[in-house]
């Protein structure tokens, strides 16, 4: 029975595959409208410069070029600046200075894609170079080059943010038996979803209606932003339709509003023709959605016996030229204060200072719920530093300190209430699966022979599912999410949700939630999302929030339907509703299984034979405001071998034990973990965006920015424990980002472990062969 329904816990094959495997997906660049124009963008070659002149005459002479837009053209429309989600503002096009390389300078609109590119080529800009500051630490020093002349405050400091008990923490450190300190730099990286960003904007002058197809993870929020930013141009929210069609990966990079979107919308409103803008990879990787860039100094106080007591962390966050991160309003440093991780620190204090530099906006997620990776990496690295200091086995030291399962719900020193967890169970399972004790023996034997092998652990705790409305909003909009369910007379179902898949498989998994609740086969349930004209208002998909928030809404909306359906069933069964129970996916008269009605029978009656006095139909809506966040966790163990000749790190095995609470679809969850692990491997060993002193990006194409291929990616081994969330309607916690959060520390810890006997205590990621080889040479062990 359950298998046919395809409810919760079944590896139902994905519905969305049918179109993707046939090349019939519909991504933004696949949208083609009659009379459509193409927009392309000229960008600054310099990181900081005054614009003396923009000569558009040659571009305008090219047959097929319809218009060239510069910052000056946007001033009368008041569109040259736009607000960011973090109470800052960002240039759409500059009127006098550019603040980073690849910043938008002018836009060309043309009848064909290639002609728009020709137009961009023909634009001539006269720049006067200005001094550049790329290092946030230098940027915060007195007398540093000022990045943002437009602000009243004449320095590069954006904000200071702190949380915790400063005095108590300082005292704990003063009294501590052991203190370890580690500086870590978590480099700037880029999500690089394989589909870049783009939009088709189509303004109907007669109706005054704007329709946009856009690569966005949050279509409703975008609709509201457009209404707020461009309301003065006559765009009203009921005449704005945002469609987020198939999205080729998001990972946080498709949450922000980029100038290209605004330009395409503006161009369509002005010309009355549909306008398409699709960025190329170089633009995507040089100007959009950078993550991390945290300079961290972390200290841990402990007793000699290994008991962890206090944590103190100071961080400088490089936000580039605009604070265009997409954090909940109250949290400029995101949820970084999950940094106490899986351990019951008594005292903790964390402070972060944001800085402007001549780089593109930073601080946007990379498959991570608002700075959680930075936090998990720091604490899990620091625990290993402590283990080295105390000459303790890192697994044993973690086991000694974990928040015990009996302590949940547990309130951390920094104020989070962890919902549920059993950290020891996850680590034990990972150790058993990988054969930890034997590996340690093998390592000792190898070391004796001069071979370099390391074992690294990461026992992370995540925080996802933003979030409860009392603390979580974006631009004032509370971070609830929604579901609307309609059961049709023939027992088929339409589900519409406020989130938006970018590959997570919502059409299947949200169908499974409804299938489980209503006893209707998943094949009979259609799930729609991403069209603001039809879907209920929601805040979108990022921060692993779809299942925790919209999943909750879906389960509750389905339960509302079941409530009503029960009354109809009682009517059909001629029974008292109190005598009717929901059992085996049917309504039954208690104790008389033969007297039963299926949901399909009830649905038909809801439209044909409903009780007098009851409203017809079988529909429900729910806007779910989660009572708390959810706290997925896991323990990862990585084994590496290091080539003493090349310095190359080879991942021999990687076991990931994840606990994301109730699992809706094990196949999809495993796929999410595989992908997340690979995006954890990437910054650990390969990816980093750097700039030279002039602010020139290094690594601005896929030639230089190394996404892992199938050759670098190991055969991930996964396992699970299940500790349901007590407050979530189906006990689910969310899983999309856990592995990205947890994996980097396991890999870095493994490499350091391989070299620890040589006196190595830390290596900043990405741990490239060059860095390792340098260490091997210094230590005299290079081959």
């Amino acid at each position: 029975m359950a298998v046919e329904i395809g409810g919760i816990g079944h590896s139902v094959k994905r519905k969305e595959d049918a179109r993707f495997i046939r090349g019939k997906g519909k991504y933004v660049d696949d949208v083609k409208l009659p009379g459509m124009l193409y927009l392309d963008i000229a960008r600054s070659p310099l990181a900081h410069a005054r614009i003396k002149n923009i000569d558009t005459s040659k571009a305008l002479k090219i047959p097929g070029v319809v218009a060239v837009i510069t910052g000056k053209d946007l001033v009368p429309l008041n569109l040259h600046w736009m607000p960011t989600l973090m109470s800052d503002k960002q240039m759409v096009l500059p009127t006098d200075t550019v603040l980073y390389q690849a910043q938008e300078v002018a836009a060309v609109v043309a009848t064909e894609r290639y002609i728009a590119a020709d137009g961009v080529d023909a634009i001539e800009v006269d720049y006067e170079p200005l001094p550049v500051v790329v290092d946030p630490i230098k940027a915060l020093q007195p007398g540093a080059t000022l990045v943002r002349e437009d602000r009243e405050q004449k320095d590069n400091h954006i904000w200071h943010w702190e949380v915790g008990d400063k005095a108590g923490t300082d005292k704990a450190f003063k009294d501590a038996e052991v203190v370890v300190k580690q500086d870590l730099y978590i480099p700037r990286i880029h999500v690089s979803s394989i589909e870049t960003c783009g939009i088709v904007a189509s303004f109907d002058k007669v109706e005054g209606k704007l329709t946009v197809w856009m690569t966005t993870q949050a279509p409703h929020a975008i609709r509201t932003v457009i209404a707020l930013v461009a309301g003065h141009l006559g765009l009203a929210e009921h005449k704005i339709r945002v469609i987020s069609p198939d999205i080729g990966g998001g990972f946080g990079g498709k949450v922000p509003v980029y100038p290209g979107y605004v330009l395409a919308i503006g161009a369509s409103v002005l010309t009355g023709a549909p306008v398409k803008w699709i960025e190329d990879r170089a633009e995507n990787i040089q100007a959009d959605s950078f993550a991390r860039d945290y300079h961290i100094s972390a200290e841990l106080a402990a007793k000699k016996d290994g008991t962890m007591q206090a944590l103190r962390v100071k961080t400088i966050a490089d936000h580039g030229a605009f604070d265009a991160a997409a954090n909940p309003s109250k949290y400029p440093a995101g949820l970084f204060h999950i940094i106490t991780g899986s351990y019951p620190f008594e005292k903790s204090f964390v402070e972060v200072d944001g800085a402007y530099t001549n780089k593109p906006p930073g601080g946007i997620a990379y498959r991570c719920s608002f700075r959680v990776t930075e936090a998990a990496f720091t604490i899990e690295r620091l625990v290993d530093v402590l283990a080295l200091e105390l000459k303790r086995d890192p697994a044993e030291l973690r086991m000694q300190n974990f928040i015990p399962p009996t302590a949940f719900p547990y309130t951390s020193a920094l104020g989070w209430e962890y919902d549920s967890g059993d950290y020891g169970r996850a680590l034990r399972l990972a150790m058993d699966k990988i054969g930890y004790a034997e590996l340690r023996k093998e390592q000792a034997a190898k070391r004796a022979k001069g071979e370099l092998m390391g074992i690294g652990i990461s026992s992370f705790t995540e925080i996802v599912g933003a979030g409860p409305s009392k603390n979580f909003d974006i631009l004032g909009i509370k971070m609830f999410d929604s579901a609307e369910i309609r059961v049709h007379p023939t027992g088929k179902v339409m589900v519409r949700i406020g989130v938006k898949s970018q590959g997570q498989g919502h059409e299947t998994t949200f169908g499974q939630i409804v299938a489980e609740e209503l006893g209707i086969p998943v094949a009979d349930i259609a799930v729609e999302e991403g069209d603001t004209d039809t879907a209920p208002y929601g805040l979108g998909t990022y921060a692993s929030r779809s299942t925790p928030v919209a999943g909750g809404a879906t389960a509750i909306a389905a339960r509302k339907i079941r409530e009503k359906a029960k009354l109809i069933a009682a009517h059909l069964l001629e029974a008292n509703p109190d005598d009717v129970e929901w059992k085996d996916y049917k309504f039954q008269v208690k104790g008389v299984p033969a007297k039963s009605k299926t949901m399909q029978e009830v649905a038909f009656a809801a439209y044909t034979n409903h009780p007098q006095g009851m409203e017809a139909g079988l529909e429900a809506v729910d806007y779910y405001d989660p009572p708390n966040l959810t706290f997925p966790f896991g323990s990862y163990i990585c084994v590496v071998d290091i080539d003493r000749g090349t310095g190359e790190v080879k991942i021999r095995r990687f076991v990931a034990v994840d606990d994301c609470g109730t699992i809706i679809n094990p196949m999809i969850v495993e796929g999410q973990i595989h992908g997340g692990l690979t995006m954890g491997l990437a910054p650990a060993l390969y990816e980093q965006i750097t700039y030279d002193e002039q602010g020139n990006i290094q690594g601005g194409t896929f030639m230089d920015y190394l996404l892992p291929t199938a050759m670098e990616t190991p055969n991930w081994e996964t396992a699970k424990t299940t500790t349901p969330s007590p407050h979530h309607p189906i006990g689910a916690k969310g899983v999309g980002e856990s592995a990205t959060v947890g994996a980097p520390a396991a890999i870095a810890n493994a490499v350091v472990d391989a070299l620890a006997h040589l006196g190595v205590r830390h290596i900043d990621i990405p741990i490239t062969p060059w860095k390792v080889q340098k260490i091997l040479k210094e230590k005299g062990v290079a081959e």
């Binding site: 064909e112 894609r113 990966g249 796929g671 992908g675 997340g676 194409t701 291929t709």
Partner: protein, 175 residues
């Protein structure tokens, strides 16, 4: 071969007449000399199953078969396909029956967002033409020019292996 002296479009671009067979259907068309094969497929013919993910020939989202060989269609001019045959994702399903590689990706959960998938499948089809029983390493090597940001490749490898198995079984069944 494409003719030497070609007319120009109103935009001043040289055009050439080409003859190319795509998924079995012949096309005789005028195309600008500078048009990339991927844009020819997507823009001129509306075959949007082939995707674009980069501008440096790294991602493989644009992979098609040109005269039976897997090529990155972002790095081939349409005119270079003159007198040739092109196979794209749209041609994999025949008479309502999915190609084993399509079945493999569905069964083994080899795709998430689906953006890399057409290119991955075309690369895999080219591999399985040459190598009926590839090892895991051979599969990984074959797709190392195709980037996927979603799946972590493990299930893609399984999908291709699945297809190889089905194709061998079908071949044996026929023999």
């Amino acid at each position: 071969m494409a003719v030497e002296t070609a007319p120009t479009t109103s935009k001043g671009q040289r055009t050439l007449k080409i003859h190319v067979t795509i998924n079995g259907a012949p096309h005789d068309v005028d195309v600008e000399a500078r048009t990339l094969l991927v844009h020819f497929l997507r823009e001129n013919l509306g075959m949007t199953g082939t995707h674009i993910g980069c501008d440096t020939t790294n991602c493989g989202a644009c992979t098609v078969l040109l005269n039976g060989r897997a090529v990155k269609s972002c790095t081939v001019f349409a005119v270079q396909a003159d007198q040739g045959t092109v196979a794209t994702v749209e041609g994999l399903e025949k008479d309502g029956k999915l190609h084993p590689i399509q079945e493999g990706f569905h069964q083994e959960h080899g795709l998430q967002c689906g953006f890399c998938t057409p290119g991955m499948m075309m690369t895999a089809v080219a591999l399985l033409e040459k190598n009926k029983q590839p090892t895991e390493l051979e599969i990984r090597e074959a797709i190392s020019g195709n980037l996927c940001r979603c799946t972590g490749y493990v299930n893609i490898v399984k999908s291709i292996d699945h297809a190889a198995r089905v194709m061998r079984e079908t071949a044996e069944g026929k023999a």
